[in-house]
């Protein structure tokens, strides 16, 4: 039985699986003027706060998440700076991503449940030594009941998410051929090439036979006597 081919990028020949940074993701808080419970108007802005362990500031490489009907994303970070040492006052928030569009047409479904990555090179400022992250979600369209982000993960620098790791054979697409030194006593090249060709044809035939045998078999050992269709 042939299941549909798995998509590339799910573990085949990749380096060790990257670990997202440990963090606490709070549930989104809607920003609304007026009483949240009685007000009929839907809030179009929500904020998700992500707290990182205070002793382990993060050099941010990538933010990965699954969208759930958010149209625009702004990301602000709080960084620990050398000048902050010893100071107890509030640290400054800096915007590192502004109004990133997730749904190009907010009244319609496009992009509404897609997976996204935001990389450090897309950010407006340096995102090293980050101690807190705040994601500001905007959904200007009133047709959606809820909007948020799911499966939020932050990846530290030095570890790369699945997207940037490649199978080793991709970098070996063009193997270098070493031209051989043919000086000195060698057999007749015509004869050798014909023999090699014949050998190749044989290996190709064997390989082709294997492929043909795999495709096309819908039965199990010649038997296709089935009961009823399964619902699971």
């Amino acid at each position: 039985m042939e299941p549909p081919a798995p998509s590339l990028g799910h573990g085949a020949g990749f380096p060790m699986a990257p670990d997202p940074a440990l963090c606490t993701v709070r549930s989104p808080v809607a920003l609304q003027v007026g009483d949240v419970k009685t007000d009929l108007a839907r809030p179009g802005v929500a904020v998700i706060d992500v707290a990182l362990p205070p002793t382990q500031p993060l050099d941010l490489q990538e933010i990965v998440f699954k969208n759930s009907y958010t149209a625009f994303l702004t990301v602000r970070v709080q960084r620990r700076r050398p000048c902050d040492v010893g100071r107890e006052g509030a640290r400054k928030w800096v915007t590192c991503l502004w109004n990133h569009c997730l749904m190009p047409s907010p009244h319609t479904e496009a992009g509404s449940q897609d997976y996204f990555s935001v990389f450090r090179h897309q950010m407006l400022c340096d995102v090293d030594q980050v101690t807190a992250v705040r994601l500001i979600l905007r959904q200007p369209s009133p047709v959606w009941l809820h909007f948020t982000l799911e499966e939020l993960r932050l990846y530290p620098r030095g570890q790369q998410s699945l997207q940037t790791g490649f199978p080793s054979w991709l970098s070996n697409l063009a193997p270098q051929q070493q031209p051989e030194n043919l000086h000195g006593g060698v057999p007749d090249p015509e004869k050798v090439s014909t023999e090699v060709q014949q050998l190749w044809v044989l290996t190709e035939m064997i390989r082709a036979n294997q492929t043909a045998a795999r495709i096309g078999r819908f039965d199990v050992d010649g038997c296709y006597d089935i009961n009823l269709l399964s619902y699971t």
């Binding site: 081919a5 490649f166 031209p179 090249p189 014909t194 096309g216 819908f218 009961n227």
Partner: protein, 528 residues
């Protein structure tokens, strides 16, 4: 600033295409050609790589590889985000996946109950005598008159329309109060569809200033103005064997004499010996095993194509294609990008044991009422069964599967329905309102046209001109535009009807319609 992301996306796409092509016969053929070229005088050892690349280019093999890569790009969607699970590539919206799952369950129940009621097994190995008999009358299966009265189609398009009408996004404001959020048509999901300015841009080659077959080849127009040159360009495209050029070319229509070869070039079908062998293997599978779906196919052909003035002559071809199609496990590959899932079963007595799990039918596709009409028009172009078969299979896994599965894809039937309703509502608001008021929602009439890609409704030459554009634009959206254009054409008569039945009568006969002028007027000559 986005460069790295674009690069990684591109590299991922390249990696996927390479992996898919690696196991193909083209790959082994290229290797064989490269090794065979080793003893040619122009191949020098110190510039081996460059010389072999040059040889592959001049012998036409590089072009074949280009065509194969182009075919992969057209068929498979761009790679998803690595964090996305495989079902996300099938269909990104969760509620649509669920709806498709429920619909499939209904179909399975229907098939199972047919099986138990009629006491006919889903699959049966034919006794040797029966196998011989079938082999003898393989070319004239139409002469058979089996008793099909007890069989009924698993579903008809109107059952599917009911399901689509009830599709709701749980996160969408589906209030009972009429508001701007509720669509006035039957489809209530907020998918993005193109408006007329976007369609004009998308279908720019159909514009008033571009020559078209179906308009500029009519008898009143001297052929020197467009037709002769267009045919000449078509012949050049065929000589060059370039898929991408062919796809661009057919946007203006195919000359009848070149159509078969051009479509084969676009779909990358070359009918190699191994393809013929594969078809013969499928034929032997048909001989060996009898499937319940075979009866459904017989019934469908008898009910639809055999009754059609244009297609009844091809009845035997239809059986030869559709029966083999049901046994073809290579069709299972398309389920990785289709929202549908193939039905599963277990060998008798081995329920639940995965090593005895099989798909049913082997290709995972249960035919519905009208399915054979996807094949019928192709019989005008291809007469060799194995080539006809491959063309149909490729058309199915590229286009037709989207017409009977629930997905958010722009060429999926849900988007086409919404596109049709939106176009009609925006550009013929009076007509739309009138039809709605008399209980004749326009989609109820046009749905069957779109599900069948207009096969059996248009005259054959017009249908083929329409399917030229489906191939040329690699999209089914033109079906929705044509449906709206037909309503626009018959608007005056439709404004006078007072019931759904009367509206159906006005739109019952499309066989005199000329497709290209209708499309051109609707897209480019209507005041917006």
């Amino acid at each position: 600033m986005m460069m790295l992301e674009q690069d990684t996306g591109l590299s991922l796409a390249i990696a996927q295409i390479v992996q898919r092509l690696k196991g193909s016969s083209l790959h082994s053929q290229l290797e064989r050609q490269a090794r065979g070229s080793l003893h040619k005088p122009e191949i020098k050892l110190d510039s081996l790589k460059e010389d072999i690349k040059e040889f592959l280019k001049t012998s036409g093999w590089e072009k074949r590889l280009q065509n194969a890569v182009y075919s992969e790009l057209n068929v498979f969607p761009s790679p998803c985000h690595p964090a996305a699970p495989p079902e996300h590539m099938k269909e990104p919206l969760v509620y649509m996946r669920k709806a498709q799952g429920s619909w499939e369950k209904r179909i399975l129940k229907s098939l199972n109950s047919m099986c138990t009621e009629l006491s006919i097994p889903l699959a049966r190995k034919r006794p040797i005598g029966e196998q011989k008999e079938l082999l003898n009358k393989w070319n004239e299966m139409g002469t058979d008159e089996p008793d099909l009265s007890l069989f009924r189609p698993v579903y008809a398009p109107k059952d599917f329309l009911e399901v689509l009408m009830n599709l709701r996004n749980p996160n969408y404001e589906n209030g009972d109060q009429p508001s701007f959020r509720n669509h006035l048509g039957l489809i209530q999901v907020p998918l993005k569809v193109k408006d007329i300015p976007e369609l004009r841009d998308y279908f720019s080659e159909l514009g008033l200033n571009t020559g078209q077959l179906g308009i500029d080849d009519s008898t009143q127009v001297p052929p020197e103005l467009f037709e002769n040159e267009h045919v000449r360009v078509g012949q050049t495209v065929l000589t060059e064997q370039d898929s991408a050029a062919a796809q661009q070319y057919v946007r203006q229509g195919c000359p009848t004499a070149l159509r078969a070869e051009l479509w084969a070039l676009i779909l990358n079908i070359s009918n190699q010996p191994e393809d013929i062998l594969y078809y013969e293997q499928l034929k032997s599978n048909v001989i060996q095993h009898d499937l319940l779906v075979d009866s459904l196919i017989y019934k469908d052909v008898k009910l639809t194509a055999s009754n059609d003035d244009y297609y009844f002559v091809f009845e035997d071809y239809l059986y030869q294609v559709l029966l083999c199609f049901s046994r073809d496990t290579s069709v299972l590959e398309h389920f990785s990008y289709s929202s549908a899932t193939p039905p599963k079963s277990y060998i008798r007595g081995k329920l639940g044991l995965e090593e005895y799990a099989v798909f049913y039918p082997p290709n995972g596709v249960i035919p519905f009422h009208g399915f054979s009409m996807y094949v019928a028009p192709l019989c005008f172009l291809y007469h060799e069964p194995s080539k006809l078969y491959q063309i149909f299979r490729e058309m199915y896994v590229r286009f037709f599967f989207r017409l009977h599965s629930i997905s958010s894809h722009p060429s999926g039937i849900v988007s086409l329905c919404l596109l049709f309703e939106t176009l009609l509502q925006t550009h013929l608001p009076q007509l739309f309102y009138h039809l709605r008021e008399i209980g004749a929602q326009p989609l109820r009439i046009s749905f069957k046209w779109m599900v069948r890609a207009f096969s059996g409704y248009l005259a054959t030459d017009q249908l083929l001109l329409l399917w030229d554009r489906i191939l040329g634009y690699n999209s089914l959206e033109i079906l929705a535009v044509l449906a709206a254009a037909v309503f626009a054409f018959r608007a005056v008569n439709l404004m006078e009807v007072t019931s759904l039945a009367a509206a159906e009568a006005v739109l019952a006969d499309l066989s005199t319609l000329k497709v290209m002028p209708l499309l051109q007027i609707f897209l480019f000559a209507t005041v917006t």
